[in-house]
């Protein structure tokens, strides 16, 4: 089953970031091992990720966030290497991050600037986009998430759901080819969780979603279960969730 990857129903957005639907980059982990302070968290990982919607589930502390951070070079492996379309995250981290966006669990820590539009512009400035193109891109991205009215608001005074949408928009405005999400809905109520879910389902780039919300990944192309320092199960969502329920509860 494939997640709906076309334009979101009802989000009549012309300036949809990445509407051209670029092919998902191929992310390869080769013999990856990583730990903190000498304690191994993940080891011997060999993975090839190219599907459009990939879920990652697993217990607390199993290493899901570490895996997610490996994908865009926020964490570099102690052993082995991670390649995004052949680019090593260790030596080309910045370039990799321009293609692999990252949405964190807590939007408070992701939003940097006090005004929404300024925060959206931050990533574009970092990409070296000419100043005069920035306002148009920002407005388009906000519109595509139905939050154009928030542009001049104080980012830290928004509601949790609005903040997470702004965080998502601020990543999407950079037109990444894939976006990694680390528990994007954990802090949200049901309505906002559904808003984020729909936004993720509808967006053009590929997505790797770490979550404890097993229902979120039910329509995905592939689901990984992180357990005991490695990928304990890798397959279709139904089977992965069943495996997880049986072995980890």
């Amino acid at each position: 089953m494939t997640a709906p990857a076309g334009p979101a129903p009802g989000s009549a957005a012309e300036e949809r970031p990445g509407a051209a639907e670029p092919p998902a980059p191929v992310i390869e982990l080769q013999g990856v091992g990583v730990g903190y302070d000498g304690r191994t968290v993940l080891s011997g990982l060999d993975l090839r990720l190219a599907e459009r919607r990939i879920g990652v589930i697993g217990q607390n502390g199993s290493g899901k966030s570490t895996l997610a951070r490996l994908l865009n070079g926020l964490v570099v492996p102690d052993e082995g290497r991670v390649l995004v379309d052949g680019r090593d995250t260790r030596t080309e981290g910045r370039r990799v991050r321009s293609e692999v966006g990252f949405v964190f669990q807590n939007p408070d820590n992701q939003i940097v600037f006090p005004i929404v539009a300024e925060d959206m512009a931050f990533g574009l400035k970092n990409l070296g986009l000419p100043k005069k193109e920035i306002p148009g891109r920002v407005a388009g991205a906000l519109e595509s998430f139905g939050i154009g009215h928030l542009a001049e608001r104080h980012s830290h005074l928004l509601s949790g759901g609005e903040k997470q949408l702004v965080a998502l928009a601020s990543v999407m405005v950079m037109r990444p080819r894939t976006v990694v999400f680390d528990e994007p809905t954990t802090l949200l109520d049901l309505r906002n969780r559904n808003r984020i879910r729909d936004a993720v389902d509808a967006m053009a780039p590929a997505a790797v979603v770490v979550t404890h919300d097993l229902e979120l990944v039910s329509g995905y192309d592939r689901v990984l279960v992180v357990h005991d320092g490695g990928i304990a199960f890798d397959g279709a969502p139904g089977e992965a969730v069943a495996w997880y329920r049986e072995h980890c509860s």
């Binding site: 991050r97 992701q110 940097v112 990543v171």
Partner: protein, 215 residues
């Protein structure tokens, strides 16, 4: 609760341009450190308090902002009194109180966007001679602006959590978790900044060429 530093309003302080307010704050800061007479410092603190009140911020908002500062001042006062003597501690207390209240009066009445713009203009000449990077400075100022209210908010959360467990207000018990949590958040924000490809390429000349800087 709104713990952002700025409280919208239309008082004389709100209407004053950011540059003027910061100019006065800067001059007052220097003045306060040159003066050591407790009476003069006390008067300065009183004037500063009046200015803060003139911003007409809701009292609850003022309380939230001043309480953590009060705790830190109390700790500093006690430490100075012990290590030096009480008169020195009084001078230090009045001086810092006056400065903090003045800074509060400025931040309460200046929109964050105006503040950023002011700093960018201020540092533009430095940028032209290549000493400072205005983008970096505005990022730094934004980070301060975003962290200060958060520290207030965390302070209150921790205090409430401790009160709920029957702990009496104890500065050390408050400050340690406050510092730990703030550092953790700072770490996360640093990651988020990295994840969005900071820093920009050297000369923003148009192309999306990005230089490599391995981490």
């Amino acid at each position: 609760m709104n713990t952002s530093l700025y409280v919208p309003g239309n008082t004389p302080l709100h209407r004053l341009p950011a540059g003027a307010k910061f100019g006065v704050l800067f001059a007052a800061g220097i003045g306060l450190f040159l003066l050591a007479h407790p009476g003069v410092l006390g008067a300065a603190a009183a004037v500063a308090a009046v200015l803060v009140l003139s911003a007409r911020a809701p009292l609850a908002a003022l309380r939230a902002r001043l309480l953590p500062v009060g705790v830190m001042l109390a700790v500093l006062f006690a430490a100075t009194a012990l290590l030096q003597d009480v008169p020195a501690a009084v001078v230090m207390l009045l001086r810092l109180a006056a400065l903090i209240l003045l800074a509060l009066a400025v931040t309460l009445t200046t929109r964050p966007a105006d503040l950023l713009e002011f700093f960018e203009r201020l540092t533009a000449p430095l940028a032209r001679v290549g000493v400072a990077d205005p983008e970096r400075i505005s990022l730094g100022v934004s980070l301060v602006l975003r962290f200060v209210p958060e520290v207030f908010r965390r302070f209150q959360e921790i205090r409430e959590a401790q009160a709920a467990r029957g702990l009496k207000a104890n500065p050390v018990a408050l400050l340690v978790p406050l510092i730990v949590r703030t550092l953790k958040a700072a770490d996360d924000v640093a990651d988020a900044i990295d994840a969005r490809c900071y820093p920009p390429p050297r000369r923003p000349s148009g192309g999306a060429r990005t230089e490599e800087n391995p981490t």
